[in-house]
Symmetry: C2
Subunit: 329 residues, 2 copies
Amino acid sequence: MKRPTIKDIAAAAGVSKGAVSLALNGRSGVSESTRSRVLEVASTLGYRPSVTARALSSASADAVGLVLVRPPRALGDEAFFFQLIAGMQSEMSCALLLQVVSSREEEIELYQRWWAEHRVDGVFLVDLLVSDPRVELMPSLGLPAVVVGGAGHHGALASVWADDYAAMTSVVEHLKALGHKRIARVAGLASLLHTVRRDSAFASSVVDGVVVAGDYTAESGARATRKLLGMAEPPTAIVYDNDVMAVAGAEVAAALGVAVPSELSIVAWDDSVLCQHGRLTALSRDTFAFGARAARALVAVIGGASPTDVEDVLPELVVRGSSGPAPAV
Amino acid sequence: MKRPTIKDIAAAAGVSKGAVSLALNGRSGVSESTRSRVLEVASTLGYRPSVTARALSSASADAVGLVLVRPPRALGDEAFFFQLIAGMQSEMSCALLLQVVSSREEEIELYQRWWAEHRVDGVFLVDLLVSDPRVELMPSLGLPAVVVGGAGHHGALASVWADDYAAMTSVVEHLKALGHKRIARVAGLASLLHTVRRDSAFASSVVDGVVVAGDYTAESGARATRKLLGMAEPPTAIVYDNDVMAVAGAEVAAALGVAVPSELSIVAWDDSVLCQHGRLTALSRDTFAFGARAARALVAVIGGASPTDVEDVLPELVVRGSSGPAPAV
DNA sequence: GACCCTAGCTAAACCGGTTTATCTCCGGCT
DNA sequence: AGCCGGAGATAAACCGGTTTAGCTAGGGTC
């Protein structure tokens, strides 16, 4: 009960392997009558081309790659990536080759290997570093790639991004309009490009703004919040770089008896069910749609389109119960 | 700057392609001196075998498959699957081929295709149906597979599972011990096997227990809760089939002015950050470890081990603020 | 009628591995 | 000496496609 190969079709249709290949791929070199006969035979035999064999002779691999550099254990709580992946899938007819590794070196090694082995037709690049070697590497390999969530234009690569700078500014403006003066920020990993972008936007719109580093985990969010609230002149508003840290921060505030939002306003970057149920004011971007857009861009680049930069809509601030007027002095 | 192939190594070492293959795979047929010379050359040339080519001559594909049947949009909120995937990755050195499809037919089609094309060495089967055609299909295809989250033994397949029946019983016992008599349940999709298992456990330990169907979304959880609380004799405790529905239910209760836990106890199946921050009593299983265990089982089956059934530890009830003594009559 | 061109097809090489058949050489046994 | 066996290596077939070179028949041109 083996699956039919191109040879079986050739035999059944009474033509050569080569003719079958031409006919199935809609290329010239066979007559219309032969082509239709081949297609007929192929469909009755339930023929499916083997991607493996096809990839070997340098055609499509029918898959795209995504490598995540994370401690696997922490990954599961990051709804962002799963939303992103789900969105990507919605716009791709091919499969996604996914692997989680623990270092940047392994990541690069893996991209090279996948490409050398024709296992993928293209890749997504996420978590862009400030000076990211991948931006140079991909074009030199000739591997189609799309930067997801970078900061605009990146070398010769296509890019799908949102304006973190403008978004941060809009958050700060919102808080200033509510009368806040002492605004703090709990940042994400300093090595990531978007952290730097948000940092600089924050620095230029808030004078003497305090920034505490975090790593997206609940623990780091709680720790940073305790530190901030323990200062001589604690902030009246804190902006967190992701939802998990913000929720943890809100809990710390509650535990310390700091009322939200009357004494402290909290804003989260990236909305999620977590923020919705915690009634946190959050900067909401449609991560699912973002992933879908990235997939479309990658498909286009693989198809031979020249790389373009797509700017996502500016994230919208969804005001919920965790932000309000600054406390009277 | 092409990647070296087995031919290059053969030329550099002055032996034939066949000898190189034997040497690299640690098989007999070459002398120790030749083997070490080949290995030496291979490492200095930075040789990496092409999985694609290898898969063609019926060897390993170095990837395993997972197909999810979901509307992609809803998938992103289901932390369960992402935790599971993260756990799988932690125990696999190979990549995961992931695709989201919208129907069971496509799922089966995809499994067959992947296997026929040597794209995967084995697959995970999730969301087992009550009478699932895949259980018969996999052995007949000869495709190594592991059932994840089924109900024990499934035909000729290996299985990694948790005892939903006993878990449900333990939840009900907990509530009964608190004095609850009118206990209700918001179930998941009726087509899934574990729903049926939980249903039957619930039915046999709760007399006249009301069950409302849901589909794991927040909307369905809210709807079900409104229905239950609007009854003439509303339940004093509700058990939800996942975290998202439970949190939505807690919100509905709050909106209707029903105090939790003094008037209504809420228990969620599957713990998550959502439950932790919502202070919901939840049936906690370590989904990450569950995924890791599934990966180990699949690796073993692919390696030729005879399929075994691994029972996961019984999920543990983590009591938080949402469950308490039944209200006095 | 000789010549050329092209459409339509076939045979064969190729991709990068694995596997099998074959060949040679060397040592041990009778 | 003659025979057998096994170790060590090679050449060639194979996996299932794509691609290229080459062949054939038919039609148009001068």
